[in-house]
Symmetry: C2
Subunit: 165 residues, 2 copies
Amino acid sequence: MSELTAVSVTVSAVDKFREFLLTKGMRLTSERETVITAVYATHEHFDADLWVAKLERRKGAPRASRSTVYRTLRLLEEAGLIRKVARANDREVYEHDYGYPQHDHLICKKCGEMTEFPNEAIAEVLEKVAAEHGFRMSGHRLEVDGICAVCSRPPQRVHRKLDMI
Amino acid sequence: MSELTAVSVTVSAVDKFREFLLTKGMRLTSERETVITAVYATHEHFDADLWVAKLERRKGAPRASRSTVYRTLRLLEEAGLIRKVARANDREVYEHDYGYPQHDHLICKKCGEMTEFPNEAIAEVLEKVAAEHGFRMSGHRLEVDGICAVCSRPPQRVHRKLDMI
DNA sequence: CTACGTGCAAAGCTTTTGCATGGAA
DNA sequence: TTCCATGCAAAAGCTTTGCACGTAG
């Protein structure tokens, strides 16, 4: 295995971010590192306010202000490390866009649950469409909405047992 | 051709809106009619502010206030007459969702141009995915971004003719 | 010493809402 | 008369920005 291959496979999100910043003459400050570390700690969907709430008033640990969180999220998006996947409660919802298989989402209008599903078939179709239009595709955002399996089941009353109360 | 078929095919957007409002105990006021007429006058994409600007200060013609435009657009969406297709300049972009073939959009990051393309293939894939998840799909929104054919061509200088100036 | 970053508070924007007035059934 | 609607202005809520102060190189 060549060193080049090894590197390209094992570059961490933080490293990728640092490289990205370098090309723009920017620095990987501790605040920026705090944000990306937090964001990449789990694979959950998140919005800006989630991290503002957690990082802004943090004591005894690296923190980051509201402005910095917003500014860093924008950088992470530019760097291709996260992407906007939907909008909920008037907020942009992000997720990792690096080291995670491509997928899209079913979004339940009732409970808000977002279910991921792999999108190879869709990606294929889009490649073809883009080619036909001479369009240089860089990504896509697909939100499928409707009612999820749980919410579309009738009330059910849990076998009427609760009626005994 | 049965009368039912004839009707279902020929119902205008305004009629469909009136029916929708009736089922909700609401009225087709002249303001609401002004908005839907304006919106359905062309097949262009639009955002709320476009119609606010045109209808709010209109003189000698039916007008509608900012509030009414927003409120009516929401109703039109609920009625299935328009749908949000993208977001541009922090505004929701709408288009007709009735009497117009299903499609999605290629969105150029440089010039903002939105190119429509038919989406039967994608719809098929989504039907299958939804079925597998017991998800009752009601619609979707697919934004494909990248650089359009025009913008990805190098500067070109229009055959150098302009250099003569 | 210079340039880049941060934090704070204030501003910006789109979209929603409270409320008094008006009008249709 | 009784709702339903409108218009206005103000509110709401997310995101961005101006500015002064720090700090890495």
